[in-house]
Amino acid sequence: MNAPNKFNWPGWLVFGAILVFWEITSRGLPKLQLYIPPISQIFWALGQLLLSGTIAKHLSVSLARFLEGYLLAAAIAVALGIVLGYFRSLHSWLEMLIEFLRPMPSVAIIPVAVLILGIGDSMIVAVTVYASMWPVLVNTIEGVRHIESTLIDTARTFGLSRRRILWQIILPGASSYIVTGLRIGLSIALILVTTAEMVVGSKGLGFFILDEERSMNSANMYAGIVLVAVLGYALNRGFLTLEGKAMKWHHSMIAREAA
């Protein structure tokens, strides 16, 4: 693994080169500009949108939906995953259901959600919860199952109640798996918020992107895409920072075992 603090020169070079290539190509082919405006125009548009505050409203709406959906999904899936991982018989009752629903592309649930919940905020949040729950749930179940039985027996011999075992032993014991699930869930939540907004929204970045495309404002459309990308990157970074702090013991342990 690369040292996280080291600046990745080659990576940025490739990234920069593509942007330059884009700029030059687009400027050289005016017919293309309607669909693929030069990068400089896109950033100009983004700057305008940010300055005027037009896009801030969409961004904050999307962010709020994302946070609500993702955090709700995380709470539900971790709690449910711990219970299902610990009580195996319960899991066998639900296993087929989980295995059937999990691989289904979650966007397919959007029409159902629209049918039941209408086209408001609650529908977008609901599909986000639904979609981002799966990786967290499945990883949590897996993590709980991988906990050493000696660890649980130790807790039992110290007289811990079942509730305390779940909270103090199972949860931290499965945390490395849970975190993996949460990281996957994060990207999925963002995908679902954006997609749902494109389908039914009247606000939010997903709506904005599609709306600008329909108005043939391709520079604005790309600006929206850039903003979604930046949002995804920032959320991932934030997640990794928090994870690095919370799971420091685990990272150092893995590093030591690998050494």
Binding site: T150, D153, R156, T157, F158, G159, L160, S252, M253
Partner: protein
Amino acid sequence: MPILEVQDLSKSYRQAGGETTVAIGNISCQVEAGEFVSFVGPSGCGKTTLLMSIAGLLPPTSGRVLVKGSEVAGPPADLVLLFQEYNKSLFAWRSVLGNVRFGLEARGDHSAGAAKKAGDLIELVGLKGFENHYPWELSGGMQQRVAIARALAYEPEVLLMDEPFGSLDALTRLELEDTLLRLWQELRTTILFITHDIEEAIYLSDRIWVLSRRPSRIIQELKIAFPRPRDQVTTRADTRFMKIRNDIYRQISHRGAE
């Protein structure tokens, strides 16, 4: 009244093929408060099963276990089992101090003094200066010291130990035997110890029960009268020590050949 009493304990497993394996034959024994007693037996004789049953972690097939006169159904409050696999029983997400504090928290001590008590215990097992290390940063012997400190922090009246030094190197093992004896004498805990190392059992114990191969039964009880404190050199050099060792060895290997 004995602090721990095992009455006609037996344990069988039903295997995948439907056959029943008897792990523990029919074991009865009594441990007095403050004693250091050991089960010694060949590998795979069901020692761990026996200890798990006594600790209330496995229900016996028949018979019962009494701790201070009351029957065990689930892990009793006054008793802690220490496992051989320190690397699996320590909490990797807690520091050394955190692990030892767990023993105090488990019996409801969240007081400000808990940190100091934990610190004292860490010093007692010889790990002063390692409070903020994580278990996986320590050697095997040090990890087992943490596990011992954690168990003692709980202040159990009976401490069950399942081959605690079984996976340590010979020198570390001798060191930890002495640490354990010192702590036992200082804290007056009752210890029930399991090992397949005959000499270790003799060196540590007041009494020894020799177990047969599966299904395990007690085939001999011995009182070990060597004066305390014992010494790794002089105690083991005693001719009676070797005699006891040889007796036990013959018992185990003879019965095993049957």
